[in-house]
């Protein structure tokens, strides 16, 4: 009888002591957290994509409170998140321009110079001599490293070339970070005129490896009235501060690689020549 009593007493007393100590400790060691923090975190999409440059939504919210970051860096949340965050912080809302990713390559038929059978990952394929198994030095390899990196199911390899679904893209640019070719670029959402090639080789060489690559023929440059498109280093390049999206360059391009790629989600760009 005595033993049972002892056992019960010991446990009860220990429980009471620990409970008391923890209760006191929670008061003594209470850490003051800014009450705006949970509200800010709630305003963010919670994808922890890292597009803002911080470790996650929580870290970004903390940085905003500490004054180390500005409102509006969250590409995934866009205008909506910026508006809510501004309300929480009590400042005027900022305008956020929506940016999406675009793959600067559409060469479904670019030649291969080697057969690659290693790990199905572009970064691994890059170890093939030169810049991977593709004969084009800047063509999409199509192993889908960007697809794996995307947390929003917005980039997929279609017919061997990665393609962004602009409506799903939140502009976190994780795909841009992982692409070993560096051919994914940010463009303004609903940009009509983009150049879907990154090949800086001379026209004759480009023509050999890809049936739609930019050959630097200057037709678009001559056609542009606004001085917005130039062939720089054998590749047509658009100056978006001048471009008015008139579409003339797209109409004259003999390779059909200037187009409203962001609006068109199907792959209906007809290869100039069938091999």
């Amino acid at each position: 009888m005595e033993k049972i009593l002892y056992a019960v007493l010991v446990l009860a007393v220990m429980g009471a002591i620990f409970g008391g100590v923890l209760a006191v400790a929670s008061k003594v060691f209470a850490v003051k957290t800014d009450e705006r923090l949970p509200k800010l975190v709630e305003a963010l999409p919670g994808a922890n994509c890292g597009g803002c440059g911080f470790a996650g939504c929580q870290a970004y919210a903390q940085a905003v409170i500490d004054g180390k970051a500005e409102i509006g860096l969250c590409a995934a949340g866009g205008q909506e998140a910026a508006k809510k965050m501004s309300a929480v912080m009590g400042v005027e809302a900022v305008e956020v321009e929506r940016k999406v990713a675009m793959v600067k390559c559409r060469g479904q038929n670019h030649l291969s110079k080697a057969r690659y059978e290693g790990i199905s990952d572009c970064r691994s394929a890059m170890f093939v001599t030169g810049n991977g198994p593709s004969a084009c030095p800047s063509g999409c390899l199509g192993f889908g490293t960007c697809t794996t990196a995307c947390k929003f199911d917005a980039i997929h390899v279609v017919n061997g070339v990665a393609r962004v679904d602009a409506d799903k893209c939140t502009g976190c640019f994780q795909c841009m970070e992982v692409c070993p070719k560096g051919i994914i670029i940010p463009v303004t959402y609903h940009t009509d005129i983009v150049i879907a090639c990154s090949n800086h080789d001379r026209g004759a060489n480009t023509r050999k490896v890809c049936d739609i690559g930019c050959v630097g023929c200057h037709l678009c440059e001559k056609q542009c009235e606004f001085d917005a498109i130039h062939v720089i280093n054998n590749l047509a390049t658009i100056d978006y501060s001048k471009c008015v999206s008139c579409g003339r360059c797209a109409a004259v391009c003999p390779r059909h690689l200037i187009s409203d790629s962001n609006l068109r989600t199907d792959m209906d760009v007809v290869p100039a020549m069938q091999r």
């Binding site: 033993k3 056992a7 010991v10 446990l11 923890l22 003594v28 790990i119």
Partner: protein
Amino acid sequence: MNTFITLFAISLNAILAENFILVKFLGICPFMGVSKKTDTAVGMGIAVIFVMALASAATWAVNEFLLVSLGLEYMQTVVFILVIAALVQFVEMFLQKAMPSLYQALGIYLPLITTNCAVLGVALLNVQNSYTFIEAVVYGITGGIGFTLAIVLFSSIRQRLEDCDCPKAFKGFPLALIAAGLLALSFMGFSGFRVF
């Protein structure tokens, strides 16, 4: 000198020959759960070392001064659970206030370990082996190091398995379990390895 050799023997035993995860099969849950990436595995390992050392010290004192003197040794399991849970909670609060950077590093792992069987195991084994206070603490620390070794090794294997081209049925957990089995098998090589 003699105590030094004993401590060395205990350490070697805890890290290799009687590794908590791979030989005693204690603490398997975090071993499978937190071993997907090496950096989280390292974080978990350090948290376990920390908690096991603290738990060894605290439970040794409770056992020696409370349970033995009252003749209540049969209550070790329940009392140890209570002590460890309260201790981890307390340490977590203390760290959050006093050392925020350490809390950031260990914070998410600490509550996970509260009721981990490796931690309870070290407390009970200390009693079973009738270790002195110093021996108990050393056993706790080195047991934690053994845990860290196993989980870090395993996480690096798993990271490689991610990229391997294997039959679909084996992808993920099945392959991880097979790898864990092979790793445990290799640690069998240390059994019978004694310094005395």
